[in-house]
Amino acid sequence: MSNFFLYLISIMILVFGALTVTSHKIFRAAIYLLFTLINVAALYFYLQYEFIAAVQIVVYVGGIVVLIIFSLFLTHRVGFDLPEPSKLKMFFTFLSVLFAFMFCYSLVLGNEFEQSSSVASSVSINSIGRAMLNYGQGGFVLPFEVVSILLLAALVGSIAIAFKTKKT
């Protein structure tokens, strides 16, 4: 039964992903992206990482996709058809991408992964929070701070970039 969900989620991810990159309507593409991301979140649920799934939904679905849709509206008319890329380019890109995928897939199939023998630790929100703010062994406070600064910088930067320069 659980395998069924996994396959379902997987198929959804791939189909919506493919639609995202092939759709001719840009708005639809955004929506397909949204579905893809939701399905990725579902995958996380399936893996029992609820917190990650939540972050995925909040940040991606709630944040990024909305941001994208906003910018879409700022720059496009809604019914706008995306230009068709040349068939040749599509064909060759497809081939090379397929080749690369086969390469990576063969690597994964051929590789014997070594499972860590130790006991699985809890991934509750509590432990994640502790680990995130822990400055001792196994803590992530430094990357957390760095990322927060980065985020701030990005916010300020994006505002600065998007700021309308006065025409002199």
Partner: protein
Amino acid sequence: MTKTKMNNYSYISFVLIIPLMVFLITGLFGKKLPALSGILGTVGMLIAACLSYFAAYNYFMVGGRVDGLYPTVIAFKQTWLQFSPSLTIDIGIMLDPISVMMLVVVTTVSFMVHLYSIGYMHGEERYSTYYAFLSLFSFSMLGLVISTNIFQMYMFWELVGVSSFLLVGFYYNKPSAVAAAKKAFIVTRFADLGFLAGILILSFYSESLDFQTIIHRMMDSNSPIFMNANAASFMGVSALTWALCLIFIGGAGKSAMFPLHIWLPDAMEGPTPVSALIHAATMVVAGVFLVARLFPVYMQIPAAHDLVMYVGAFSAFFAAVIACTQTDIKRVLAYSTMSQIGYMMFALGVSGYWGHGGLGFSASMFHLFTHAMFKALLFLGAGAVIHYVHSNEMGDMGGLRKKMPVTNAVFLIACLAISGVPPLSGFFSKEEILTAAFENNKIIYAVGLVTACLTAFYMFRLYLTIFWNKPFPLSEGGGHEVPGDVHHSEAPMTMKLPLLILAIATLVAGFIPFSMYVSADGTAFESEFHIIPALVAVTAGLIGIFTAVFLYAKKNDKPEMISAALGGLYRSAYRKFYVDELYLFITKKIIFNFISTPAAWIDKNVVDGMMNLIADVTGNLSESAKTLQSGKISSYVMWFFAAAIVLSMMIVYVF
């Protein structure tokens, strides 16, 4: 290193040093005191001449023979450049009969020419330069004749070449003089290439550059060095033969032997005294001197020896034929010089080495001696005529005997001498040569006899057209406008004096018992006087003279008729048998158009093109690399992506 052997001949070095100093002084400071340079040069040459007379007296009379031979004296020797332990260029002074004789000849003629030039070149703008060059030439020529070392000879050989170049091109704003100077230098230079190659081969095998050592080593047919040189062969000819033939090419170039003679007639563009000195008496006999110097080695190789003989004989005849048709008096004299040098050459060629067999050698040197005197006289006389008439063309002259009595007399003497009329000097030397030829090679003898006849003919043709033929001044003005300076006197004393001295020399030089002093092996022998050959030779000369008198004593149309009758033969002789044209064809058409032009083209287009091609390829590569940088994100991504895949595959599969 320094092997200076002082002996009582070391004063000979002043014979060289004086002209050199004169050259330096007049060359550097001559502009300041032009009048003095002539006097300085003349006095310097006088001293040099006196010194060499003194040396000759000492050498032949006081020193005398040692064991029946005149010794070879090294008066001075100094290493100048060392190539390897065995090969060194020494600068030195070597005295043996022929070099002492040459010293006398060169200093005498040079002194005469210096003296003569004071009058002849008077008022010339580059008077002091002229004297500087003249001194340079005298220095080089003297250095050449006293060389101890074959390379020393080559060096002075080149120096006489360049002084000849400078003097022929003395009137440098005359294009014909420039062309003649270049031609003279380049043709002799080409011949010198042979000389140089010959030196290289000879010196390699004999392991020496020293004349005495080379001769000593090569004389012995059984010595390993000789065997080695004779055994090594290239294209079926032994190395030694090659060396000697190549050296002879050098000599032939300087001595204007066929086919390297083309420069000599053109060299007459120089001032006439220069022609007398360089192109009649001294430099042009350098080739004869060279062969004479290496004569013992030539004796060892019959092929090279025969080459000398045939080339000499052919040149003698060939030049005599051309001389009969020329109208420029200096050119006639030039061809006559060539012909007489041919005589000397074939005399060497027919000569043996030992004792009386060496008659040809002695005769050749004797003729060199007498010829220097009377040919210098002829040229200086011609110079006086030209000075008077201001033209070189025979057509502008005639009947000058009344206007120029002295010149007339000396010119006649010289003409008789060269025609071999007894008892003038030319008779004796020529008679000896013909005797030597008669004894060795009948064909050469016949050629010599015919040439003697031709010589007499063209010399008297020349003499008669200048001094008799028509009355002077020419009323109808034969082509050339003769300037109306008929009133001026014959020539200044400075010009007459050398003429007289040389005339006396011409008269008496024949009585010197030359073979007593100069012979191939150094032994003295009495050259017997045979009446029959002498009569034959004189008859041949007289036939030539009477033919000339018949044709040219009075102005008439017989010469034209004869030349018309001869037709093509006359024309081709007049055009010097088209040798010049042939050379011009080879140099201009073949070398210039078929070697030089393509080479320049190749350099511009192929070699340089290759370099430019490399540059262009680099440029084009960078142009195309530039288009990779298109500014299109997708293409960058494409490259990035492809590179990532390739790299990861490399990491996985290769490493």
